[in-house]
């Protein structure tokens, strides 16, 4: 891995953490999903997977250890891999919005599955059902954010990235 990549991963991981923190006062409305998708498309799977690892680790350093961190190390790489898979056939803004929306809707489900390993299946079901309104908000906000911002952010970053490559 080049020095440039290491610096890039660090900076972009910081942008993801900053994006998370800046909207943390709004329950389940976030830019993290969009950024992981955009970074996958622009900077590639390998770099973005490393960003997800850095991001999840920083989250633990900020919020402390709990059961959720296990899901974080799994769920973001899944999003990145699915984004990369869909991107092979071209990822339009509508496809991106649907992917982000479905990801947001299923977010609570992933955590419920993990919680059920620790506390039993009934707890997991209760956890998921109680969180459905939050998952709906998460899914809808993800969908709208991706629909509006995915294309312009990808275009912008691709321009900057190609300019940087040409300069170096």
């Amino acid at each position: 891995m080049k020095t440039r990549d290491i610096a890039l991963i660090g900076i972009l991981s910081a942008t993801i953490t900053a994006a998370k923190l800046v909207l943390s006062f709004l329950p389940n409305i976030e830019l993290v999903t969009l950024l992981f998708m955009v970074y996958t498309v622009v900077f590639g799977v390998k770099r973005t997977l490393l960003m997800s690892f850095v991001f999840s680790t920083i989250e633990i350093l900020i919020y402390g250890f709990s059961t959720w961190f296990i899901v974080y190390y799994i769920i973001w790489p899944i999003l990145i891999l699915v984004t990369a898979y869909i991107q092979k056939k071209s990822l339009s803004e509508y496809k991106a919005a649907v992917l982000a929306g479905v990801f947001g809707l299923s977010f609570g489900f992933f955590f419920a599955v993990l919680e059920s390993f620790f506390y039993g299946i009934m707890y997991g079901i209760a956890y998921w059902v109680k969180g459905i309104p939050f998952d709906i908000v998460h899914g809808v906000s993800n969908f709208l954010i991706a629909l509006v911002l995915y294309k312009p952010v990808v275009n912008l970053l691709q321009r900057i990235s190609s300019r940087e490559r040409a300069a170096s």
Partner: protein, 136 residues
């Protein structure tokens, strides 16, 4: 209006309508149901930092804990912060949990950790609600 923007506006409108419908159906079929009738309950407040240990008993017709606390907000010295998705308890006995110190009010019902927020906690006869200032 540009056709692409027009399409997006339509999609956004459809998604918002579907989301509203989904939230309505959730509240209608999966949301918590209150228990009607008169109930006798108690609220215990523990704030060790201020040596506060208060106990209040109520005879109430309210169905959810938030409504009971709102009704007795002055006596409980309670303060709440409202979000789009609900209400969070931030203060009791006129003491506000300090976010900078990672403080929050832990809620337990009859000695067991509450799994829901104030607006979802259904009041049952004989319940004892304990609010203890803790740090996360």
């Amino acid at each position: 209006m540009n056709k692409s923007i027009k399409n997006k506006v339509i999609v956004v409108a459809v998604v918002l309508v579907l989301a509203s419908l989904a939230l309505y159906l959730y509240n209608e079929f999966l949301g918590p149901e209150g228990v009607a009738g008169t109930k006798n309950v108690s609220i215990e407040i523990l704030i060790n930092e201020k040596n506060i240990a208060e106990n209040f008993t109520y005879r109430t017709e309210q169905e959810f804990l938030y409504n009971l606390m709102k009704e007795n907000q002055e006596e409980l010295g309670a303060s709440f912060r409202e979000y789009d998705l609900g209400v969070m308890l931030v203060g009791l006995m006129d003491y506000k949990a300090e976010e900078s110190k990672n403080e929050f009010f832990h809620i337990s019902i009859n000695g067991e950790d509450a799994l829901e927020g104030l607006q979802q906690i259904v009041i049952n006869d004989g319940d004892r609600y304990t609010f203890e200032l803790k740090k996360w």
